[in-house]
């Protein structure tokens, strides 16, 4: 068992355990806590997989941004401290069983597939982003150039680079932000009737 495998095992276990804890937790903030652990561990897995930029993005955007947003949501929508909205036991059991079944199905299919030969880390494939620092090639690909494929900008940008998707995602994000802030504006509040927890 190599060091990398050890670290992988640790983080994978943390990831899975926290994910299951998310499912099991009853209060939302605990769920959020476990989710943070899970996503953080996932980020560590990304680092292990030499995807350091993705891992950093995961940390910054997911954990630092999205989850804070979620916790905000929790607090803004909480009608009492440590609010719990329970699920019936039967439902939980059924969901759990089906989840297990699903997990089995996924396991079976994942292990049943004969994937292409794994690429091992070598000096040759560092530049492809398979191994090593990927920041520069990622940035270039977002600018429409794929140096590792030997394509310069303007030569065959449409087929290789990610300039257009990058722009689309940027605009999409802007639109979403505007839309979300519009949606979430404080508006009239419903008359509190039959408040049921």
């Amino acid at each position: 068992m190599s060091g990398e495998a050890f670290l992988f095992t640790v983080f994978a276990a943390m990831t899975c355990f926290s994910a299951i804890a998310v499912v099991v937790s009853q209060t939302v903030v605990r769920m959020a806590f476990w989710l943070v652990i899970s996503l953080g561990s996932t980020a560590a897995l990304f680092f292990l997989a030499n995807a350091d930029f993705v891992g950093a993005a995961q940390l910054l955007i997911y954990v630092g941004g999205t989850l804070v947003l979620l916790v905000f949501g929790v607090m803004l929508t909480a009608s009492g401290p440590y609010m719990k909205i329970g699920t019936s036991t039967g439902e939980t059991v059924v969901a759990g069983l089906i989840g297990l079944l699903f997990l089995f199905v996924v396991f079976a299919s994942v292990s049943g597939v004969n994937w292409r030969q794994p690429v091992t880390a070598s000096a040759d494939n560092v530049a492809t982003g398979a191994v090593g620092n990927t920041l520069r090639p990622l940035g270039l690909s977002f600018l429409g150039a794929r140096p590792e494929s030997g394509v310069l900008p303007g030569e065959d940008a449409a087929g290789t680079g990610y300039l257009l998707p990058f722009e689309i995602v940027s605009v999409h994000l802007l639109v979403v932000l505007v839309g979300a802030s519009y949606l979430a504006r404080a508006k009239r509040r419903a008359v509190p009737v039959n408040q049921v927890v």
Binding site: I98, L101, F102, V105
Partner: protein, 816 residues
Amino acid sequence: MVGETLRNLLMIAWLLPLVGFAVEIFGGFWGSRKSRTAAWLAVGCIASGFLCSASALVIWGNANHWSVLNKQSHHSAGEHGEHDAHGEQGKGGHAAEPAPKAEHGSVSAQGPYVLTAAVEEHAAESHPAGPTVYSGTLYYLARIGSLDISLDYYIDSLTLVMFTMVTFIATCIHLFAMGYMSEELTEEYVDHNAHLSNGHHVHRPGRFYRFFAFLSLFCFSMLGLVLAGNIFQVFIFWELVGICSFLLIGFYTERKSASNAANKAFIMNRVGDFGFLIGLMVVWTFFGTFRFGETVDEKGTVVQAGLFQLIQRDETGNVVRDAESGEVIIGAHDAALTPGNSRKTIPYALLVVAGLGVFAGCVGKSAQFPLQTWLPDAMEGPTPVSALVHSATMVAAGVYLVGRFYPMFVQEVLLTIAYVGCITLFMAATIAVVATDIKKVLAYSTISQLGYMMLGLGVFGWGAGLFHLVTHAFFKSLMFLCSGSVIYGCHHEQEMPKMGGLWRKMPITAFTMLIGVIAISGLAIPGLVSWSTIFAFSGFFSKDAVVATSLAFVKANPSHFLLFLMPLLTAGITAFYMFRLWFYTFAGQPRDHHVYDHCHESPLIMTIPLMVLSVLAAFCAIGGEQGKLYLMLTGDQPAHVAHGVAAAAGGITLPGHDAIHAVHNQAGTLALIAAVSGTLIAWVLYGTNMVNVAEMKRQLAGLHGFLANKWHFDELYDGLFMQPAHIVGKFCSWIDRTVFDGIIHGSAKVVLFVSKWDRLFDENLVDGFVNLLGTSTFAVGRSLRVVQTGRLRQYVMFIVVGVVALFAILFTTFPG
């Protein structure tokens, strides 16, 4: 240039009343029903129109060097040869002469309208060889195929005189109406002659402004009729005049009698207009144009000859006919002279039909026999209306049209016109003798005088008929206004038996009325030196002209002696009933003290028009046939009557000017004798108490009844048209109710039966199928509804289960 000026002036005079009408109707005067603004506006419009017309007349005279008026006698024997010389030119088509062509070029360069005749050239020769006419097109309304519907103008001396006369009389009447209609200046007008079903009087807002709006519209229509340059345009304004007449007669629309009278006038006019339309169709079919004058394009080239140029006359005044077929030749003898018009012909009979058709329209409009009954009923309208519409203008329009369309009438038509006029004048006069309503007397008198005009025209006295038209317009409108003044003063009392001795109360009215009566009666003081110095009022001269013409005609055609006897006799009757009216009303002792006591002289605004008109009624025709009016009127008379024909035409021998002149003294004397005797009888019967009129009425009860019932014409029409129509209607109704309704009911039953079966089929089979579809869909949806729990989480679960199931199927189906 003269034509242009005349055109512009007359257009202003013509359109001003329309502007007035628009402003009065849409100007919001209903907001102030006590304001006279509308009336002043109308007066202003029509007075300005008069000024324009008068200046147009002066300009016309200047253009013709007034020479036409200074000529003492253009039918003297010495000048006869000269006439013939010019007759040569005339028959070649006065519009088609080569010489005026050059004139055309210079004039027409300024615009689309043209001088159609060589004006200056003829005027310089000091007497006309044909009408001096200014014609052209104002506006193209539409072009349907080769048919131009356009607004044209046709200006000659007749147009100008008519314009001046109409606008002047209308101005007077407008002023008079301002006083007469002043009762309408209120928010709450009580109409004592109109009753509601509960017996109350009608209360309504005053309609002062509306009255003047209608008057303005009428003036516009009448002037448009006079100005019209084509027969279709005449027809348009003819109908417009009819509409205005309808509106004005029915002005007191709440009164049953008024609305009935309006309907009657309108419908009877339609009868005549039907003939008019037939005439129009014939004209259009064979002549291809409606225009009186010729159509000239911008270069001055004659594109199409007018109606009056198309009909050619020979020296006898007869139309030119084809030697072989006997059909009338349309167009010039020499085709080269009228470019754009190939030589055509029209059957003579159809030309007669066209003439009779147009004359039928005139019969309706001028209330001639047999369509005369509407006019007395039309007296239901306000008296200014009667004065303007039913004495001076609208009814005169029929006579005017006969005069205007004269070149198109052939001898047979003219004879018919003469006889119709003859019958009318006698019949109406006799009825007037027994009428007691002051306006009815005047109405019948109007019919009678219109008959005189028709007679004059019919016996080839073009100038005489129209002369009488103008003089009659003055004195008859004067008398109507006087009667209006009486009615106004007596608080809407119109029955003469209730009046009497009114001259003490209303001297101005009585005096002016007397002038009018003398004028219409044709009284005169025989002159000492010659006829030209005779002192007489206008009626004498014009009636003398008509009677003289008819006498000459009868002398030439003895078989038509009635055409002289009747007017002569009627001249006496006229004097009788007119003086009867005057004596009845103004002289003697008051018969109804209630009326007499409350009676008063009219205000100044009503009496001033009376005085002005009385002066004109007395002196407008001074000089007789050598007078200015006559000469002006006949300045542009149709070519074939201009120089006096003495020839046989269509089996009738026509008198020439000389023949008429020869019998002038004779006819005048006879007419004067008749008038004086009529006057004396009237004086004896009504001016003195020598004869008991009531006793006389009783003794002559049969005749009186016959006359009082208007020769039973209403009954006659009732029996001739109404009853048969009722019978036919009843029969049609029976057929409708039994046969057609039976068929329809039967088919309805069949349809009902079929539809019952269809309904069964529909409800059970079709609906059943559709409902089955619907219910099954509904049931499926209902059963599937439970799946849609609305629970997000269950949906997720379903997805997972679905995926698992899918994979399970995959794994079992493709193991490994």
